[in-house]
């Protein structure tokens, strides 16, 4: 069901996100491009921002829905911002652009029935296509039967005919934070379909499930990357053992100094995480969320990571990627543009706010001179007083 074929001209990407009262963001309004780096110190809210997209996924997922998506996050008290004025409703508004130029907007506001209740209800739900209203709730049916407000239209296959591809799109969002040990253990798609597991337990199965030509092409592209960062690396292949279990096998040139061939059980944590990431980036699929991809990787790799991501994206035909990071090494790459950076900084009245780097005149100017995001934007996120910021450009 999640593998439903979608019309390619309808392939979407997020272009804008607005939030109200979401986790530690009282409000936000940011543009999103093909590649976005979310940067900020620990506990600033990078994960909370990625969490919005995971929430949209869970809303549309098979067996998901509003109640489930909120419950997975331990209820409204954890989802709603503690910094918002008392008990304000949570709002998520996303704008999307399709390959054929259609502009879609999805806006959802939800709240509990009362301060004490845990029952989550849709306060309003809107779908716009090129500015025209496709859905506007609550509608007359909701007024007759208010129980309907327990569900979003996105999660109801019967009522979302006109915008079902939005639900498909949300469902295609992937979060990735592969755990090397779990990749090694391997498992058949714990999420129900290949590539569903954020922890990467089904990675090997997933690679095997790809059509042969596609698989070979992608493994070759990964091999080209590994050649540059792993000494003696020669080739990367997928093989099956006697039990039919798939394995990644790497060949090395100088077999005298080490085993000529290694299976994934012998790869370093970083290498496995890198392979998982590079594989996913090449898939022509929905937005990919990468949580601190620098983790457990060598400096040599981290310094090249932003460019690896860009080149793999190009191979996938431009899969949208959102990356949370606080790696100065990755952000030292001059190939990262100001408009790819979202800075998470402390908000004046508690919580955090999201500032696009391109809107900071100082950062934009410095980056135009060739200074890197690590030298310009990253230090800004460490400052704790807003007056230190330049005026918006």
């Amino acid at each position: 069901m999640s593998q439903r074929k979608s019309d390619p001209s309808r392939i979407l990407r997020f272009t804008n996100l607005k939030l109200a009262s979401w986790k530690n963001f009282k409000a936000a309004d940011v543009r999103l491009g093909e590649r976005t780096f979310i940067i900020g110190p620990n506990a600033s809210g990078k994960s909370n921002l990625l969490e919005v997209f995971r929430f949209l996924h869970d809303l549309a997922a098979d067996g998901g829905g509003l109640a489930k998506a909120v419950a997975l996050r331990e209820g409204m008290s954890k989802v709603r911002s503690l910094h918002a004025t008392s008990n304000s409703a949570v709002n998520i508004t996303v704008e999307m652009l399709s390959a054929c130029g259609e502009k879609w907007t999805y806006a959802l506001t939800f709240d509990t029935l009362s301060a004490k209740s845990e029952q989550v209800l849709v306060s309003s739900e809107t779908v716009l296509k090129d500015g025209q209203v496709v859905l506007q709730r609550p509608d007359q049916h909701d007024r007759i039967d208010s129980d309907r407000l327990r569900q979003t239209a996105i999660e109801q296959v019967s009522s979302n005919k006109l915008f079902r591809h939005l639900a498909d799109f949300f469902r295609s969002i992937r979060f990735m934070n592969a755990v090397p040990q779990l990749i090694r253990e391997g498992q058949i798609s714990p999420g129900g379909y290949p590539g569903a597991d954020p922890l990467g337990r089904d990675l090997l199965q997933h690679i095997r499930a790809a059509p042969k030509g596609e698989r070979t092409r992608r493994l070759k592209a990964i091999a080209r990357v590994l050649t540059r960062v792993v000494p003696d690396f020669r080739d990367l292949r997928l093989e099956q053992d006697e039990q039919g279990k798939p394995h990644l096998v790497v060949g090395f040139a100088h077999w005298r100094s080490q085993a000529a061939r290694q299976r994934e059980s012998q790869f370093s944590d970083g290498t496995l995480r890198l392979i998982a990431m590079l594989w996913s980036l090449q898939e022509a699929a929905g937005p990919l969320l990468l949580e601190e991809p620098e983790w457990s990787l060598h400096t040599e790799i981290v310094q090249r990571l932003a460019a690896f991501i860009a080149s793999m994206q190009a191979l996938s035909g431009g899969r949208q990627v959102l990356i949370s990071t606080h790696s100065d090494r990755m952000l030292a790459d001059p190939g990262i543009a100001a408009d790819e950076l979202l800075l998470i900084t402390p908000a004046p009245k508690g919580g955090s706010m999201i500032t696009p780097a391109a809107r900071q005149a100082i950062i934009a100017k410095a980056m135009q001179q060739g200074l890197s995001a690590a030298e310009t934007a990253l230090p800004m996120t460490r400052m704790h007083t807003m007056p230190l910021f330049g005026r918006p450009a």
Binding site: Q303, A310, A338, G370, A374
Partner: protein, 195 residues
């Protein structure tokens, strides 16, 4: 030992060591930025008597005069520390290998400047030259898409890395760049007296 301001500076510094017929012994690392480089360099200087030759490479950066900064950062400069600055930045040294860079970027040789040390912003120059490439991959990788708010395209670093590793000849480039010529001469002298 090599210590450089940035990632590409480090790769270039390694090539310089090879170009004078020496080999990189010990670690090769970079500071990941200008401030970090100048913050760290005194520590390398202090350790220099025990570490052997250290080639330290950073951008001169014409926007400020480095003389006073050097004096303040390194009042006692140890002979083992060969601190060289590319004028005004590494990309000038790359531009100086005209034929190689033109071939690598697929642009006519005439698109490259005659006097790279005099180019105001060599990095921007490299990007602008790459815009003229006959290869779409190079144009789109090296130059930012319009309105991106940056100087370089997303594949600037790996493209320049590949150039430094596979095509750039520091000796040939030194004929056109006085600052590179001086750097190689200092490095050659130091490696000779060290052996």
């Amino acid at each position: 030992m090599v210590f450089a301001e940035g990632f590409l500076d480090r790769l270039a510094a390694e090539r310089l060591v090879l170009a004078v017929g020496s080999t990189v012994e010990g670690t090769s690392s970079d500071a990941g930025g200008r401030d970090a480089f100048w913050r760290t360099i005194p520590r390398y200087n202090a350790a220099a008597p025990h570490l052997g030759l250290i080639l330290a490479l950073a951008d001169h950066d014409s926007r400020e005069c480095v003389g006073p900064r050097l004096k303040a950062t390194l009042p006692h400069h140890h002979a083992n520390l060969i601190l060289r600055l590319s004028v005004p930045m590494l990309e000038a040294w790359l531009l100086a290998d005209r034929t190689a860079l033109a071939g690598f970027l697929h642009v006519p040789v005439a698109a490259l400047p005659d006097d790279p040390d005099a180019v105001e912003h060599p990095k921007r120059e490299v990007v602008n030259i790459a815009r003229r490439s006959t290869r779409r991959q190079i144009r789109e990788g090296m130059a930012p898409a319009p309105g991106r708010g940056g100087l370089c395209g997303p594949l600037y670093t790996p493209t320049v890395e590949a150039f430094i590793a596979s095509a750039w000849d520091p000796l040939r480039a030194a004929k056109r760049s006085p600052s590179l010529h001086r750097a190689l001469r200092a490095l050659r002298t130091a490696t000779r007296s060290a052996t």
